[in-house]
């Protein structure tokens, strides 16, 4: 392993000296090359982040709109008609558009924000910086990855403006509801769904291109001395996230392709004996359940694709700001691996009540509860990291702590949902909504925010504003719990209901749905504070204390981190390091050791010092 690493680092270093040398008399990159069709990982990271923020606002706004309907099902909001038009005639959101919003909210948040926006941003920013590489293995493929994501975004966004509206059969897109191209069955199953499928296809291509690049980069471009066990946990998380994506996204692509065959070519992969308005359609022999298997074969790993990068970021942030090594580094690495392996064996826990063979369910219960073990290890290790630290309660640290809190709260309810007999009652109810929003929605956002606040100085050489950051944190923490915690008590109330008025059984929670809606609006506004803070701070944030060195570059390490990204010049330069790439001599968590606050990874071992293993 180490011989291999050295070779690639040497070769790479050689190439880069040429490059840096050639840079002086080469043509200056044009504006278009620098900011739009850039192959620089730092710029691509920003592109992913800002696109993700755009989608975050759209997805959040959709949830505010459908929360208006849920909170006040008997009232009208005339202002809605002015910008939703026929979808909200008389100021009342139509039941069709309600489903479309729920569907798009799910698709946008799961894929475009928490996969593209989160993984795309931080994997791109941190992989080259933290492993000590000039850039990704292929800058061009990396650029393509973003532009496929962009294309997916454009297609999905346009689908909002169709006559029949965007897809509206749930983000999981189960057939036959989404499998019949018949708008009398479901308006969103017309062109809206075809565009959804096209957008997802582009998205999957983007994700695969990105993922392959991340893995190739991590395995091949580590700097001299950076053995795998010296990688920061962020990198481990990004690598396993990428592997998960590479292995699972193709299943969804296949699933969606077959679905489009059924819709457009008249095949029967998922359809059998469908009767519409008393007429038996010609589909024979397919199985709607097959689609669910294909979907969840991605769908479940997908939640780990979302949460693993957040876990990596949080591990790093907790350690840096506690001024302590991450507790149990090896256990953390092993638990990520365990989660990745087991996450491929749990998908059918989404399907306990589809008529799945009960014997098969037993296997999935076992693995589902088993995956709680590595998750528990991680939680204990995070808490162990804070213990006896000298905790700097900066904004990123607050979000990291919030992440752990959310992950505990949401993760524990997974033990109920994963146990099939309990799931009979809880499946597709608000209990599930509470569970996954806390554990992979809010928690992943906390991880993302921790990352943005922490690495903002790495992006822009400035800090985000602390005061606004703390306000953002507290409103989101309290508001997040105010929205989702009470939903646990709505156990048994079905999801995706436009109103509960038709049921005696479900109609008792009106005051609570209103409370939740108000909390959702407040939390949404708090996210806008984050957006304002972000863009304001790019230009006016407090500058990072820097030191100008002889090479004419400025260096700063605002959080006193040990990892390599802080050894690179704080201003954006192509190739990341001005001179040679630093070699690595120690693990990434030497905090408060040898009477020093921290020792960077590129600091050679002191005479007599034993390497941490």
């Amino acid at each position: 392993m180490s011989a291999h690493t050295t070779t690639t680092a040497d070769v790479h270093g050689h190439v880069d000296t040429d490059h840096i040398h050639g840079h002086e008399h080469h043509h200056e990159p044009t504006w278009l090359e620098t900011y739009v069709f850039s192959t620089d990982h730092k710029t691509i990271a920003k592109q992913f982040l800002i696109t993700g923020m755009f989608w975050g606002i759209v997805g959040g706004l959709l949830s505010v709109l459908f929360r208006l309907q849920l909170g006040w099902p008997n009232d009208t909001f005339p202002f809605l008609e002015s910008f939703l038009g026929k979808w909200a005639e008389g100021g009342k959101i139509s039941n069709e558009f309600y489903l479309a919003m729920v569907t798009m909210h799910g698709t946008i948040l799961v894929f475009f924000v928490l996969t593209g926006g989160l993984s795309g941003t931080f994997a791109n920013l941190l992989i080259p910086y933290q492993i000590g590489a000039r850039d990704m293995a292929s800058g061009f493929i990396n650029m393509l990855s973003y532009w496929f994501f962009f294309a997916a975004s454009v297609v999905l966004f346009i689908s909002f403006f169709l006559q029949t509206g965007p897809a509206s059969g749930g983000w999981t897109a189960y057939p036959p509801l989404n499998g019949l191209r018949d708008i009398s069955i479901n308006k969103g199953s017309g062109l809206g769904f075809d565009m959804w499928a096209l957008a997802m296809t582009f998205f999957i291509v983007s994700s695969l291109l990105g993922g392959l690049n991340y893995v190739a980069t991590i395995l091949n471009l580590r700097t001299k001395g950076m053995s795998m066990m010296k990688l920061p946990l962020t990198i481990w998380a990004f690598m396993f996230t990428a592997i998960l994506g590479i292995l699972s996204f193709p299943a969804l692509l296949a699933g969606v392709a077959l679905l489009e065959f059924d819709r457009l070519l008249g095949t029967s992969f998922y359809l059998n004996m469908i009767v519409v308005n008393g007429h038996l359609l010609d589909y024979r022999g397919g199985s709607p359940i097959l689609y669910q298997h294909l979907f969840w074969f991605l769908g479940h790993p997908e939640v780990y694709i979302i949460i693993l990068p957040a876990m990596g970021i949080v591990s790093e942030v907790l350690s840096v700001h506690s001024r302590k090594p991450i507790f149990g580094y090896r256990a953390m690495v092993v638990s990520i691996m365990a989660i990745v392996v087991i996450s491929f064996l749990v998908w059918a826990h989404h399907m306990f009540v589809t008529g799945l063979n009960p014997n098969l369910a037993a296997v999935f219960v076992l693995f589902t509860l088993l995956i709680a073990v590595p998750s528990a290890i991680k939680v204990f290790n995070w808490i162990g990291t804070i213990w006896k630290g000298s905790v700097r309660l900066s904004v990123p640290m607050m979000f990291a702590i919030g992440f752990v809190s959310m992950f505990i709260s949401g993760g524990l309810t997974g033990l109920m949902l994963g146990n099939s007999p309990i799931d009979i009652q809880l499946h597709d109810t608000y209990f599930v909504v509470a569970h996954f929003h806390i554990v992979m929605g809010v928690a992943a956002f906390f991880g993302m925010f921790a990352g943005v606040y922490h690495w903002f100085p790495r992006f822009y050489g400035r800090f985000m504003n602390d005061t606004l950051g703390y306000i953002h944190f507290y409103v989101t923490l309290i508001g997040g719990y105010a929205i989702f915690f009470p939903m646990h008590f709505m156990t048994g109330l079905p999801r995706r209901y436009y109103t509960f008025a038709n049921f005696e059984t479900f109609n008792n929670f009106n005051f609570l749905t209103q409370f939740i809606s108000i909390a959702a609006i407040v939390v949404f506004i708090a996210q806008l504070i984050f957006v304002v803070n972000f863009f304001y701070s790019i230009f006016n944030g407090r500058k990072v204390d820097v030191e100008r060195t002889e090479d004419g570059h400025t260096y700063g390490n605002p959080w006193e981190g040990t990892t390599l990204e802080w050894t690179a010049p704080i201003e954006r330069i192509h190739g990341n390091w001005a001179g040679e790439i630093p070699a690595v001599h120690r693990w990434p968590y030497d905090y408060s050791v040898n009477d020093k606050p921290y020792i960077s990874q590129n600091t050679p071992l002191a005479p007599g010092e034993v390497e941490h293993t």
């Binding site: 039941n95 630290g389 000298s390 109920m416």
Partner: protein, 379 residues
């Protein structure tokens, strides 16, 4: 004008926030402690500690406020077991929840840099890590074993009653069609081809089969106390899900794939009302009916798989009668489908709850949307 004022207010709100933020930052810089987090760590430490305490108190309050409103105790035998499993899991969860949440926020407070200047270099402890791997693993193993015992009891075909009450429920957008086998206990045969499936005979019932002659549609699901029920499920157009919240029953209705659920009701509708009468919240007056809530209590059937625009309207009442005699009496009053096969689909429509019929017509035929469905239902 209103829009402009709103917009101006929003801009003002964010401007003020940014100014406050910037002012704080500048005053810190002037005081020369820009990157010194001592003070911030101190008050945020208190706030985090305060948060976790407030969080715990709010949970107690939520339990007090919301638990009485929740769907009441299980009305079926297997449901008692699944509920029990829920509470066992909840017990373990609560312990872990309290310990970890408290430790997390307390450590953040206790070891914040204003209180603890020097971090303790402590990278791992294998013994500790083994302990906190093994203990969760044991607890989870216990939960899996308990869960699987209940699961296989629910789905154990061998031990089932050989002569249960069989009901066939077929779902379509947006209603439930419940077919009972009539006095002979046998359903008429169904032929699934274009000759038999027609707009007036969506199930493709073979009228030449004499068993079909006493089958009847029912506007509600009627079960018998302590008599096992086998619900045979299907769907015509898209996936629906058969959900009886009070009985802890849920099973998808999948077009082209038959499914079923077997369970035994424990309490009649009347017994459930009597039970609820003993609970304070159920004695409060429902403003919509002007009656105590327990009086209008009913079991209901709902759809829990997204099935289209009126997914939320697929309601059907469920009644549990006390014995076979009461059931037989009810059955005698039903009209067989065979007697009036032509009005079959119409009879389903009129029999269905008005809410369903209304929501269906709003969505499907006349796009006279804009009229709030809920408002229509209210009438």
């Amino acid at each position: 004008m209103l829009a402009f004022v709103t917009f101006a207010l929003i801009v003002l709100f964010f401007t003020v926030l940014v100014l406050i933020g910037k002012t704080n930052e500048l005053s810190e810089d002037i005081a020369g402690k820009g990157m010194n987090y001592d003070a911030k760590s101190k008050w945020n430490g208190y706030l985090l500690l305060g948060f976790v305490i407030a969080f715990f108190i709010s949970i107690v309050y939520q339990v007090k406020l919301l638990a009485p409103i929740m769907i009441p105790k299980s009305a079926s035998y297997h449901g008692e077991k699944t509920d029990n499993l829920f509470y066992v899991t909840l017990f373990f969860m609560t312990i872990v929840f309290i310990l970890t949440q408290f430790a997390l926020f307390y450590f953040a407070y206790r070891y914040n840099q204003s209180k603890n200047k020097k971090a303790y270099f402590y990278s791992h402890n294998n013994k500790l890590e083994v302990i906190w791997t093994v203990i969760p693993a044991i607890v989870l193993a216990v939960l899996v074993v308990m869960g699987m015992r209940v699961w296989f009891q629910i789905f154990d075909v061998e031990s089932r009653d050989k002569n249960p009450l069989v009901v066939e429920v077929t779902a379509k957008q947006f209603q439930w069609m419940a077919r009972y086998p009539g006095a002979d206990g046998k359903f008429g045969h169904r032929v699934l081809d274009t000759a038999h499936i027609t707009p007036t005979n969506e199930l493709g019932i073979d009228w030449t089969d004499p068993n079909s002659h006493d089958d009847f549609w029912s506007d509600k699901l009627v079960f018998i106390k302590d008599k096992p029920v086998l619900v045979k499920l299907g769907a015509l157009d898209v996936i629906h899900s058969f959900y009886l919240p009070h009985f802890r029953v849920k099973m998808d209705c999948v077009p082209g794939i038959p499914t079923q659920f077997y369970f035994t009701p424990k309490y009649t509708t009347e017994e459930m009302r009597e039970y609820l009468k003993s609970l304070p919240w159920w004695n409060t007056i429902n403003p919509e009916t002007g009656e105590p809530r327990w009086k209008t209590f009913k079991y209901e059937l709902a759809c829990t798989e997204i099935c289209g625009r009126s997914h939320y309207g697929m309601q059907k009442e469920v009644v549990v009668v006390k014995d076979q005699a009461e059931y037989d009496e009810w059955m005698k009053k039903q009209t067989p489908i065979y007697v009036a096969p032509k009005s079959e689909s119409a009879s389903v429509d009129t029999a269905a709850a008005p809410a369903t019929a209304v929501s269906d017509s709003t969505g499907k035929e006349a796009p006279k949307s804009g009229k709030p469905v809920a408002a229509l239902i209210k009438k």
